[in-house]
């Protein structure tokens, strides 16, 4: 694997045209890392301003299946099927279809250096965005698994850190999906909202799924980071955001919650209520929000009409 990573980086730096070659090297790494088989336990933390959260987790990937166990429960993945456990029962959610993955050309591979992590040979790789470091990965040479992932904000501080503290490559485990599920739901394609753009700050809207009721889930990705934008009725109750922090983007006020894996943002436009959830760094979120429907209120007449007729 050391050879492979070295080849990817060298081809990015010296053989191919800078941007295109670098993208291909990073894209190839990301695709191959998805299939890497390993078992590990680690910690993931996220910090945005004064808000931060952390959690521990265990992950096992083998035979095309993944199992992730955290304090809030367990998940299993196999292809498009995600199974979550609640009590003794398993619940399945299956994605019906999705668009092809593309990596944005704003990312490129930067310098790489050989290192040792968890007693293993590894390669430290910088992922650059427009000339500055956006992420630092320490990749296990044998398995291509990222032993350490750091994502940096615009100020150069660590926004999210995920570090494995125990690691076994290619574990001999026999994983099986549950034989039956209490519920098995499909995430079906739906009509894209006319209020949402096809892309925002380089994040392409790749898929739109219908929610129960009148809402939708628009999935945006730039290939490295991604977010879902849930658009629901304006009256939707954001009870979980009651303890969130307020922040402003271009004079508009939003509410955010920071969890270890994701950042959540809620706001209401004059027409709809929105929840954004994803792993993108704060400066990206602010740039994205400036291209989405803005927070705003309705006039008195519209509020009364809404109350009368729903």
């Amino acid at each position: 694997m050391a050879k492979r990573i070295a080849t990817l980086v060298l081809s990015a730096l010296f053989v191919m045209p800078a941007a295109a070659g670098a993208d291909e090297g990073l894209a190839e790494y990301l695709e191959s890392a998805m299939d890497a088989e390993f078992h590990g336990s680690g910690v993931v933390m996220c910090t945005w301003g004064a808000d931060s959260a952390a959690t521990t987790y265990e992950v096992t990937r083998s035979d095309g299946m993944s199992m992730v166990q955290g304090p809030d429960g367990g998940l299993m993945f196999s292809g498009a099927l995600t199974a979550s456990k609640a009590g003794a029962d398993w619940y399945a959610l299956e994605v019906s279809e999705w668009s092809a993955w593309n990596l944005s050309d704003r990312y490129s591979l930067g310098d790489s250096t050989a290192t040792i992590r968890l007693g293993r040979s590894a390669t430290e790789v910088n992922v650059m965005e427009d000339g500055r470091i956006r992420a630092r990965l320490v990749i296990d040479d044998e398995s291509t698994v990222p032993l350490l992932t750091e994502v940096f904000g615009a100020d150069g501080g660590v926004f999210r850190l995920a570090a494995l503290v125990e690691f076994v490559a290619a574990p001999a485990v026999d994983m099986e999906m549950p034989e039956s599920f209490m519920e098995h739901e499909m995430l079906m394609y739906g009509e894209p909202s006319s209020l949402l753009p096809d892309s925002a700050f380089g994040y392409r809207r790749t898929d739109t799924y219908a929610l129960d009721g009148s809402g939708s889930q628009a999935f945006y990705s730039d290939g490295l980071f991604s977010f879902s934008l849930f658009e629901v009725g304006r009256g939707a109750a954001p009870g979980d955001f009651a303890d969130g922090s307020s922040f402003e983007v271009e004079g508009a006020t939003y509410t955010r919650i920071v969890t270890a894996s994701n950042v959540w943002v809620h706001w209401r436009s004059p027409e709809r209520s929105y929840v954004l959830v994803g792993d993108l760094p704060p400066d990206h979120i602010e740039a994205v929000l400036s291209e989405l429907p803005r927070p705003g209120t309705r006039g008195v007449v519209m509020r009364w009409l809404s109350r009368l007729f729903g």
């Binding site: 959690t55 999935f219 009256g235």
Partner: protein, 124 residues
Amino acid sequence: MTHPIDLLSAFLDGELAAADQAEVANHLHGCASCAADLQGISRVRDWIRGMPVEEAPSPLLPALRPPRWAWAAASIAAAALAVGLVVTPAQTEVLDLDTLAGQHTARVVVSPGISSIRGPVAGR
């Protein structure tokens, strides 16, 4: 940094200052002992969360009864309803973040990306 045993609980809750949070995280990279302690704390919390909620003993209940003004307000509301003075608000759609998290994660894991290559954590 010495072993930050006393800080691990606050670290899990995200209650430390950003600098301390980062310092503890950096320490956890190289200290299997503290990482194990962190997982232990996390498991204990998980266990406590899973404990059944017992009903409060009856002597406590009078203290939880609504005050008189609440009964008065309820009476007025009932009367208002009876004469049709109250406009029913639009039906409220509840945002269940656990459900939304599940739907987001289900889509994340089918494509490469910074989260999917390390394995997204269950929950929000």
